[in-house]
Each structure stands twice: as C-alpha cells, then as structure tokens.
C-alpha cells in the first residue's frame, strides 16, 4: 500500500513536470482576447477589485451582449463580464451601470452627452485594405449601425467611414460589418 502511494505520487509528479513547460508556453503564446468591459466600467485593475461577480449586469442587458469569463482570461477575471464586439455589440442602454451594486460599472445617464463623456470601452479603427467602400464598392453599413452617427463616425465619398475621436467603442459597427474578416474593429480601452 505504502509503495503504491509513493509510486502514484512519483508518476503524478513526473507527469506534472513533463506537462508544465508546455502549458506555460501555451499560455505565453496564446493570442490575447480582444474583449470589452461593459460601458462605464472602471479601469481594468479597479474594475477587478470592485466587481464581485454577481452577474446582475448580464441579467439586465436587454441585448444579451454581456458574457462571463471562465478561466480563459486568467484566475483574476473569472466570472467577470465582457463583450466580444464581433459577436454582439453594446447598445448603450446603460442598464448594467444602473444595476451594478459595487460601482464597478459606473452609473451613466442614457443621454448622448453623458455617454460621450463617461463611456470609453474602446475605439473603432477601419482597415482600409479590407473595407468595401475603400475598394470602390459603396457600403456604409457601419455608419448606419452606429448609435452616434456623424458624431462618432462620419462618411465621405462612396460612404467611406471615418471614425472620430468621440467614438465610445460600443462595437455595433464591428458587429454589423459585412466583410469577413471585419474591416472595422474596436480596439479595447480598458484603462
């Protein structure tokens, strides 16, 4: 019995030693997740310290764009909310901030002024080599999806989109882009 347990421990240890470097390497070279925090969220460090993982933001979201991390983004952000803009953008209804008990997501009124001031989820960027409008095929879908048209995004000749620095990064443009891969992406700004 003694010998068996010792052998088991040895085998387990050897297996762990053999696997450890590969898992570490895998973690190091894993492509980073491009995710947004809900609108009005604090800077990442403060957000993680504040969020108690209660899940009310997702339960309040009428668009069901808020999802929750498992272990894929590290132990620190387990069960914290995130948004993948290509899958579903944020409609800036601001209900998550209203329901958040800890202030990890700030309360912001659902008005253009307050949203432009308070929300900084990220910033959209157009890849002109992928964008149809820049290839001479009039598109303009992103402009029409934008909840802040002519403020956050303007269109020029052939509906070529130009993102202004007022963009709050809700991700509706990226969600709506008809190109695959998408020609407009939100670069997250998590502070």
């Amino acid at each position: 019995m003694e010998r068996r347990t010792v052998l088991k421990a040895l085998i387990a240890g050897a297996a762990a030693a053999a696997l450890a470097p590969t898992t570490v390497r895998a973690a190091r070279f894993r492509p980073t997740l491009r995710y947004l925090r809900p609108p009005g969220a604090l800077a990442e460090k403060d957000f993680l310290a504040r969020c108690i993982n209660c899940g009310q933001c997702g339960e309040a979201c009428p668009n069901r764009c808020i999802k929750y991390f498992g272990l894929e983004n590290g132990l620190g952000s387990i069960d914290t909310p995130y948004i993948i803009p290509r899958e579903k953008g944020c409609i800036l209804c601001m209900k998550c901030g209203e329901v958040c008990p800890t202030g990890a997501i700030g309360r912001i009124a659902r008005e253009a002024e307050a949203i432009l001031d308070g929300v900084k989820m990220g910033h959209a960027r157009v890849d002109e080599s992928l964008c149809l409008s820049y290839q001479g095929k009039t598109c303009g879908v992103c402009y029409r999806a934008c909840p802040l048209p002519d403020i956050a995004i303007t269109v020029g000749r052939l509906e070529q989109p130009h993102v202004t620095d007022k963009c709050v990064g809700c991700g509706l443009c990226e969600r709506s882009c008809i190109q695959m891969p998408q020609a407009i992406r939100v670069i997250p700004d998590r502070g």
Binding site: A49, R50, C51, G55, R64, T80, T102
Partner: protein, 341 residues
Amino acid sequence: MTGQRHKPFFLWRHLNRLRWVSLSIVFAMLVVLPFLHVYQTYVAAHAYDLLSPPEKRIYDVMEALTQPFVSDPAEDLDAVKGNTWSGTFWGLKLSDPLAALGQMAAGRTLYWPFLVTALLPVAFTALFGRFFCGWICPATFIYELNSNFASWLRWAGFKPGNRHFDKRIKYAVLALGVIGSAVTGSVLVAAVYPPAIIGREIYYVIALGGFSAGMVFFLATLLFDLLVARRGFCRYLCPGGALYSLLGRYRVVRIRRIVENCNDCAKCNAICEFGLDPLRDGFGQECNNCSACIAVCPRDALTFTIRPTDTAAQGPGHLGWQYRREVEAPGGQEAREEEAA
C-alpha cells in the same frame, strides 16, 4: 415530574417545513429569473416572429406568468435581478456579507454604497445566527437533497462517507480567501462559495447556453459531501458559513434543550446536518437555526429561546435512564411507580 411540563410553542416543530418552502422559493427564483431575462430580451427586440419553437415556448410561458403583474415587461421586470450573492429587489439592494468582505479585501478601500447593501443581512445574522445557511442558501437546497440521497444509499446498503474533520478548517478557508482576494486584487472568494456559484451557473446555463468553471467546483463539493463527509463542505470548508458563524456567534435567537423533557434518544444529533450536539446542549456558533432537531424531537424537548449565549451543559435528560439511575436513584422507584399509575 408529574403534571405541568414546559412545552415549546407548538408551531416551532413545523418551522422545518416552512424552511423547505423558503429554500424552494429561493431556488425557484434563481431558475425563473434567467428565463424572465431571456423573455425580456425577446420583448425588447420585438422578435416573437423570429423565434424558434423552444424560444417561443419560453416567451409564451413567461408572458403568461408575468402578464397579470407587469404592463411593460422590458422595463418592469427589471425590478428583481440578481441572486443571493447580490441582488436587487424592487430597488432594495442586498448583498452577501462575504461579498462585502471580499471586495473590501480586493480593493483595500471601503466603498460605502456597496457595503450598506450588506448591512441588513449582517443585522439578521446578528439576530438569527447562520440562518442564511439553512433558510436561503440555494446550495443548501441541493446539498440537503444530496444528504437525503446519501441516506437512501445507506438504506440500500452502500456506504456514503461519514468522516469528521475539524470544524475550524472553514475559518482558515475564509482567511485564505480574503488574503487571496487581497493579493490578486480580485474577489476570488466568490469562486469557492457555492451559493454565489449556483446563482451564476443557473444563469449561465439558461441564458448563456452552458455551465462555466464554477460548476466543476460545485460538483466536486457534491461528491465530497457524498463520498467523504456528510454536508462536509458546509461543515468544514465553506468560507461564507465561517463568516456567518462568526457574525452569529452571539445571536439572540437560538435553540435550547428543555432538560426536563429530554429522554436522551439522540435523534437530534442524528438529524443535525451540521453535526452539532443538541443532546448535550452543544449548539455553538455554527447552529443555523434550521429547526430540524425541533421537528424530530419526540418529547418536545427542544425550543427556541431568546438569549445571546447557549445554556451550559445540563447533564442527562430527566426522562432518560441515565438520569434516573444517577440522580433519582434513591427515590427513583417511587417516581417510576407514580408515573406508571
């Protein structure tokens, strides 16, 4: 010993049933709320015609359930959100004291708007002790069913685990969770606290389409309870239970043994989910006032009382053989004849 004996208020022995009603309501709420949320999203999207048949069924059922109470589902159903870890009930925000403690540790600041949401639970815990564990906790609902399942297994000839550990381990788990939260700067204690996990995971599986990592942990605790120690996680490991025990140490409402009625049958000790010792007045800070011992007592020898400390050990019950032999021995013969007559 003849004639008037102190009897507990007759409703106390039915409280255990009321407790099951309470547990079931909380659990049912955790299941219904995600469906209501999904229904809200369908309403908000004006999407009925685009729904698949199962989604239409959710829509119809939820509409039938809520129609008498709300006029605008997308807005009005926001009144109740969340779970037992932290929730909103018609504007009243309530949070688990462990959430407040974990967040204090993680942020190393006091964020008052959140901390006040834990005040009411803390006050109730000061009054009723670890009542959350017995009356509200959605994990308890499953753990107790699991415990009943274990007793069926025992009846069927299997041997579920019944090992005993030191009950103080859970205070170490609480301390580790708080220190871990402080070190990582994230409320990690939420990841090892079953009621928080259950609340989240039910939402995940209904609204987001799948369980997450927490479910693996929860299943492990179920197996631990079944194979290693009865209600082992709650007794020995739960960080929230530890916090509630500390807060409820000087609870005002507690269970007391009426030694005159007790016949030392020990059914209370056998039924106690938390492995306490009502038979020898050993309730302590871990009793969750679940009242299962009151319900099972054949002699009305357990009752609620209002005092901040337990009664000191009162010795053998006056109806038991040990008391008769040791204390009543000289005149015991007469007393027995009197009772028989």
